[in-house]
């Protein structure tokens, strides 16, 4: 009788190799990012103080604080959200509730938004410079920068709102139709309140992206370090400030580290909020059903 020789655990060695390589890779990523954060804390923390947040920019950024920068950043963010939220949610509502899925117009709009999502941020910068700053005559201003960023985060908002609307319970729409509710009532009194958590998560992610953007702002909101007095003033965003200190200012790295630490903290805060919100929402949904 011929028996096949039983090979002893043929892939034991391979298994161990994959496990080790995987663990190494995971550790390496942890380590590298830990290093990055540690460096920013080490270099940036000593300069952090109340006067850093409240002071004017001095000596091209080598001294003083970042108060005007923070104000400009907030201004840019406000303009960005002011345009992007109505436009993005409106577009998503239209795609999901008001137009037949798969119709020519729906596809055209959806692919336009998808195309926009793939545009590099520096190209948004070029566009914003020509269109908002020059053609519309807004100049290098907080408004120009904010509107440019709005175009940039628009696809993200459309996508997340659309997902939120599409993942609503399927029997909500027939229930509303059975009561003879108009589309407007159904959408604004039923669907939007129910989809709000998803929309808020999308907006939070959008805020994160807008805060971290630099390239699109270089030629739209400008470099001015003065305290802005209106949306039509030029104002330097926090990310642009870091870039300028790192590239153009000799001995600017200490202040750049502090600014980077502040920006990183802001972003991590915003993004953890998004993660926490979505987990909270998921848990509530799964316990409700």
């Amino acid at each position: 009788m011929i028996t096949h020789p039983i090979r002893r655990s043929p892939s034991k060695g391979l298994d161990l190799a994959i496990a080790l390589a995987g663990a190494f890779a995971a550790l390496l990523s942890f380590f590298l990012f830990g290093w990055l954060v540690w460096d920013l804390v080490r270099l940036g923390l000593p300069k952090l103080s109340w006067s850093f947040f409240s002071g004017e920019v001095e000596d091209a950024g080598r001294g003083g604080g970042i108060a005007p920068i923070l104000v400009s950043t907030l201004g840019i963010l406000a303009c960005c959200l002011g345009l992007a939220i109505p436009l993005g949610t409106g577009c998503a509502i239209w795609l999901s509730e008001f137009v037949r899925r798969g119709s020519a117009w729906a596809r055209l709009v959806a692919s336009g938004v998808d195309l926009l999502a793939g545009v590099p941020s520096i190209v948004f910068g070029l566009f914003g410079m020509v269109f908002f700053a020059q053609t519309l005559g807004l100049g290098f201003s907080i408004l120009s920068g904010g509107l440019t960023l709005a175009c940039m985060i628009l696809p993200l908002l459309v996508r997340t709102t659309l997902t939120a609307l599409e993942s609503l319970p399927a029997d909500l729409r027939p229930a509303a139709a059975g009561l003879g509710l108009s589309k407007t009532t159904t959408t604004f009194r039923l669907l939007l309140p129910a989809a709000l958590p998803g929309i808020v998560i999308g907006i939070t992610l959008g805020v994160g992206r807008a805060l971290s953007e630099t390239a699109a702002l270089l030629f739209t909101s400008g470099y001015s370090t003065r305290m802005p007095e209106s949306f039509s003033d030029s104002g330097r965003a926090l990310s642009v400030h870091i870039y300028d200190l790192a590239l153009n200012v000799a001995n600017g790295s200490a202040m750049a580290s502090s600014s980077a630490l502040v920006l990183l903290a802001l972003i991590l805060l915003v993004n953890s909020a998004a993660v926490a919100l979505s987990e909270h929402w998921l848990r509530r949904r799964s316990s409700a059903s």
Partner: protein, 256 residues
Amino acid sequence: MNAAALHISGLSVSYRDLTALREVDLAIPEGQITALIGPSGCGKSSFLHALNRLTDLVPGCRVSGSIRLADGTEVTDPQTDVLALRRRVGIVFQRPNPFPQSIRRNFEIPLKEHGWAKSDIPDRIETVLREVGLWKEISDRLHQNASTLSGGQQQRLCLARALALEPEVILFDEPCSALDPLASGVVEDLILSLREKVTVVIVTHHLAQARRIADHAAVFWTRDGAGTLVEQGPAERVFSSPQDPDAILYLNGARG
């Protein structure tokens, strides 16, 4: 025989290439309970949803033929105001589907939409909640989310919500099949209590239930790949001496 609340003639429903229902003629008597029975997939639900144009929500669904309300309004006419129609012909679905908002909002949204004065709304809510026997149970928590109610309570809420709009006809799409026997009995009693007040059309798989509550019965069956009506008449007659061979077997529990 009472006047017909709904007069249906030559009604066909199709989804893209698939014919779900072919050439149905039926008169729904006013103030009575009409049960639609038959095996799954024989077009009962398509028929029911055509009656208040919920078929509009299904992409690719086409309805032909005529459905007339008592006052002569043609349901299938594209010019007919579908929102007003759905106020007059309400529906309660298989699975309870309260809006995930407060119990009060569940009434306020449709009542406001159909023009009730704000000051009348609280009274209206109380009246219909009493009608479905929920008032005592939930009158102190109208502000709570409707999804915190039990399944049976939710279904009664949905019935109350439909009743609030003072419809002439209420359609029930297997209203008890998602409920436990106890809750199912409560809802069944409620449907019985509607007799004479509104016209009821109910789709049910539950033959014993149909036997208990129906004044009028209609048996649907699949013929040549499409659902059609094979037997109709007063419930007693249909159940005791059906004519159609398939209906005989089905009602005796041998098929379907």
